[in-house]
Amino acid sequence: MSATVVNHAGARRQKRGMKVWPLLLPSVSVLLVWMIVPLVMTIWYSLQNYNLQSPPAQFGGLSNFEYLFTDPDIPIVVWNTLLLVFGPLVVTVCLGMAFAVLYDGPFPGRGIARLLVITPFFVMPTVAALVWKNLFFHPVWGLLSWVEKLFGLQPIDWFSSHPMVAVIIIVSWIWTPFATLILLTAMQSLDREQIEAARLDGAKAVSRFIHVVFPHLKRPISVLVMLETIFFLSTYAEIYVTTMGGPGTATTNMPFYIFSRALQGFDVGLASAAGLFAILIANVVAYFFIKRISEHL
């Protein structure tokens, strides 16, 4: 009879659970560095008067923060940031909801139509912005100006007169598919029997929606809102490619402000202070989101 296959004489003796820690190490250590180093440095620089064009850095205490809160641009920047969050939020959620209701029921070619609806999300944000800028919004050659002329109106130069609206349209276009997908998925997980029961109870389509479907969607909507808020707070590429924050500061939001101060104005100290501010806000929103999803782990 052949010898026992498994060697138990020289068996590994280790406290169970210890064994698997090394597997976590690579990702955790890497992410730790990724998180801590920039954070520490940002905090450090925010306390320095440091302009890349005139080094070295000198300790400035809270002067950057003072400047930040007294910079006349700041209220505009904050306002723009809020607009760029709530504008697309409202549009995407409403449209997303409408589209989800639309695609919830069957119709011929639904699969393909659905694919078409979600296309915008996969387009590179830079490309998306450019398409809208040149092919739609352009006052001379854009499609919209052609349509406006058809109606006898003066064509609008969107990026000069309504830059914020234009950017909001672009962001909304990109993200509505995301909202649609999420709400559609959530809708399709709704137990059909509830709706049937409501129908048997004589409820019409609209009231069925209000009383059965919508409550079920409250949760996914809150998830959607939180997620989109986090992403919209860092809107960047769309602005870079269309307005560069302008005209003036009309479309400068927080990320762009930091970018322009740091990489164009070379004022690292100020940009760092602003960066901390942005991180703080993001943390607050993320906290709520994390709490919500931690239930699912």
Binding site: K19, T119, L181, P220, Y240, I258, G275
Partner: protein
Amino acid sequence: MKPGSTRTKRDPLRTVLGWLVGIGMSFPVFWMALAAFKTEQDAAAIPPKFLFAPTLENFVAMSERVNYFHHAWNSIVVSFASTLIAIALAAPAAYVMAFHASKFTRALMLWMLSIRFMPAVGALIPIYLILVALNLIDTRFALVVITCLSNLPLIVWMLYSYFKEVPAEILEAGRMDGARPLRQLWYLLIPLTLPGIASTGLLGMILAWNEAFWCINITATNAGTLALAIASFANSEGQFWAKLSAASLASIAPILVFGWFTQRQLVRGLTFGAVK
């Protein structure tokens, strides 16, 4: 009961609206795709031309002007490499979280997710300065590392959710058969979750490909990806939309294809399971 599939009632309003919305939403992309095949005159024509003689001249010009292939190659390398590395780092961690769960691993996962939500701008200055100091500005290496780290939490999460679907008993049987954790991962877990890993990889590549923020700020002609190429192309060649459209179309086409195949993973991945 699968929603809607048992009823064959035709709803004409829904059909019309459904198609209108679909066409409407994707219209800009199609309009751009059309423009890519027009001459500059046709592209700039008012009223807009829907019928025209197609040409490939833009694509030819594009490869000369914008150094398209160089940037495309960068995009491919960065997307591929960052995703592959991320998966390699993430798989062991996801394994531990899925099969040796504890309060600690849960907290760890939440911490990882919170990093994902931090605005990139917060790290811009330090990273920029570090890269300058290390002479890594405008290198593919730097972009790969940064993209990898940016997407890592998401990839860990997605692998975790796919791993959890494998019955723990199969791995326990492997354990009894003498397989230590890494071998369980290699011989048992990964073969059983290949479709999930593929979807995760696909999503990771899409996110890396479309990534514009870091690209614009820390790379230039050498390591710039297509995202950057388009952005700079826009500034210099802003008037030439036919060429711009061609360049854009060539830049987004692969991802559109990928994206069509991964829509379900998108929801699962980006909402972190909060929506089922």
